[in-house]
Symmetry: C2
Subunit: 330 residues, 2 copies
DNA sequence: TTGTATGCGTTATCAG
DNA sequence: CTGATAACGCATACAA
């Protein structure tokens, strides 16, 4: 069912019909200076023939495809879905198309996609990846999200550190005196790990005691349960405030707390990170630090499309916001 | 920052370096029959030069891009995110790339994308759209999801009718004696509207009374509230079972019911449609009829890539399943 | 089996 | 301002 024989009229046909030169047709189509009489003749011929522009020819000639590749784990996780959406919108505003590659956290796939993107002459690559060994192609504009590679590879990210500080201060402000931070993460140096750093720094600054549990990818969720029950005595949890690495994990932790008989937010207040909403646009799921996804998307797109090297900082952090949604007492 | 001058080595360079003809290089790369000695020389030259394949040339020559366009409202709604993901995976298995277009339900954008997809010589279009006036291009393989255009345009869909029947029977089986169906929808003839048809038919068959409220896009949510309070007397809802067009709406309705003091599932059991999970992979949000998204994705992809016209039925309905998740008493 | 040569549709250079 | 013409990188028909 794949159509391989769509031979519509070409610019040459239009030129012949209009009685002008091929180059003139090209100029009309690209909006360059052309005498009005010529322009009209060409437009008429285009309509008469039902001419349709063919990008393959242009791509071959110019080495530009007006396409950016987005490499992302999936669009099932709502955060990634949101990000993909806003990046697509931002690209489209600048007249670029998006080629989407889902890695499913598979390292081989990531390198494969990089290869493929280059074969397809994309004009740039935006990647959110967790592969530590990924070799970034030098020959093609590259922007990463949330992940540091080297100072030569621009990275766009939320202000994760600032978000961590914000969470600690907010919990303090809401009366908490004994905090904990919980997360799962890879061992990679990436931006999200700064959530913890900011949180810890703020706790120290405010002289609030805090504990940290950070699981790596291989440890099971039950480690969190052990952690919580270790700090659970006489029907009471040792913490009155939790800052959790992602909304998704926060949601799971809250389920566990409920099973333990710990009430949220009465006994313990919980703040997550990301800003996930129910069905993408309904209410927030937990009180959380919201990532500025549309701004992240715009920033990555501006960066990858800019010709100006000063638009290529090694790291750009965008401000987060706090939102209350039932798991805190505000 | 957009790279327009990446002039790497071409097949001609490889040929010269290997001391063979250009055509031979092409044949090696495309895996055609080539003498072993030649193949080795070519492979060596490719490595030595760091040659990278350029798809623009091939696209121009063959009119094939190995790219399929997916037109979809967004990836914020979790159902669409899931669908996009599985379609991408299915395409990738067949060595196809995906160009993604988000319509945001905007009709002008839909027609624009159709135009753009053709300019970019995509090999086919898979579309989930709500535009009644959309003109399907004849010259390019086209498959729709959930939406009937004409018998000439193949449509892939869940068995919405069967799902409606299934919901009614399940509610009956769970002891309900007074049902209602609620949804919002466009006036379009589309597959999801058959959810209601199946539900109503099953109710009649079982001689169960049922009410229906179907809002169009312009009516506010408050119409649902009025409907519910109209059927609410002496602290009791007239219905003991609700079938709701989507999980998303079901979620909202349940919030409203809680505000009214109606308990779910004790006072009224609720079944949604779609099969949305928390964060895409955690628990189901409501008891629901689950759409077979991976199968839908595979079917659309098979259809659009098949050369065999018998793989192009006008409608293909895939079986749904029921899952219980706390809003029913099973 | 391998080499040669042509053309896909476009842009861009250069003359007029 | 417009016309003619040469690439761009590749696949393929045809010749050897």
């Amino acid at each position: 069912m794949v159509g391989r024989e769509r031979n519509g009229p070409t610019m040459a046909d239009v030129a012949k019909k209009a009685g002008v030169a091929l180059g003139t047709v090209s100029r009309v189509i690209n909006g360059e200076q052309v005498g009005e009489a010529y322009r009209e003749k060409v437009m008429e011929a285009i309509k008469a023939l039902g001419y349709r522009y063919n990008n393959s020819g242009r791509a071959l000639r110019t080495n530009r495809t007006n396409t950016i590749a987005l490499i992302i784990p999936n669009t099932i996780n709502p955060y990634f879905g949101l990000l993909a959406h806003h990046i697509n919108i931002a690209l489209e505003k600048r007249n670029y198309k998006m080629m989407l590659c889902f890695t499913e956290y598979d390292r081989d796939r990531e390198t494969e996609f990089l290869q493929m993107a280059q074969e397809n002459m994309v004009d740039g690559i935006i990647a959110l990846t967790y592969n530590p060994d990924l070799v970034i192609p030098e020959s093609i504009p590259f922007v990463t999200i949330d992940r540091f590679f080297s100072v030569k590879v621009p990275c766009v990210s939320s202000d994760n550190y600032g978000g961590g500080v914000m969470a600690a201060r907010k919990l303090r402000e809401l009366g908490c005196t004994n905090l904990a931070f919980m997360r799962t993460a890879s061992i990679l140096i990436n931006e999200p790990s700064k959530r913890m750093d900011g949180f810890a720094a703020a706790c120290r600054e405010m002289h609030i005691p805090y504990e940290v549990i950070a699981l790596d990818e291989k440890q099971p969720y039950s480690e969190f349960e052990s952690f919580l029950s270790k700090h659970f005595k006489d029907g009471k949890l040792a913490f009155d405030g939790l800052f959790i690495g992602t909304d998704s994990l926060a949601w799971e932790i809250i389920k566990t707390l409920k099973q333990m008989g710990v009430r949220v937010p009465e006994d313990v207040q919980v703040i997550g990170f990301d800003g996930i909403r129910m069905f993408g646009d309904q209410e927030y799921i937990v009180s959380t630090i919201v990532q500025p996804v549309p701004a992240l998307a715009r920033a990555s797109v501006n960066m990858i499309l800019s010709d100006d090297p000063t638009d290529r900082p090694s790291l750009m952090c965008l401000p987060v916001t706090y939102v209350s949604a039932g798991t805190t007492r505000d």
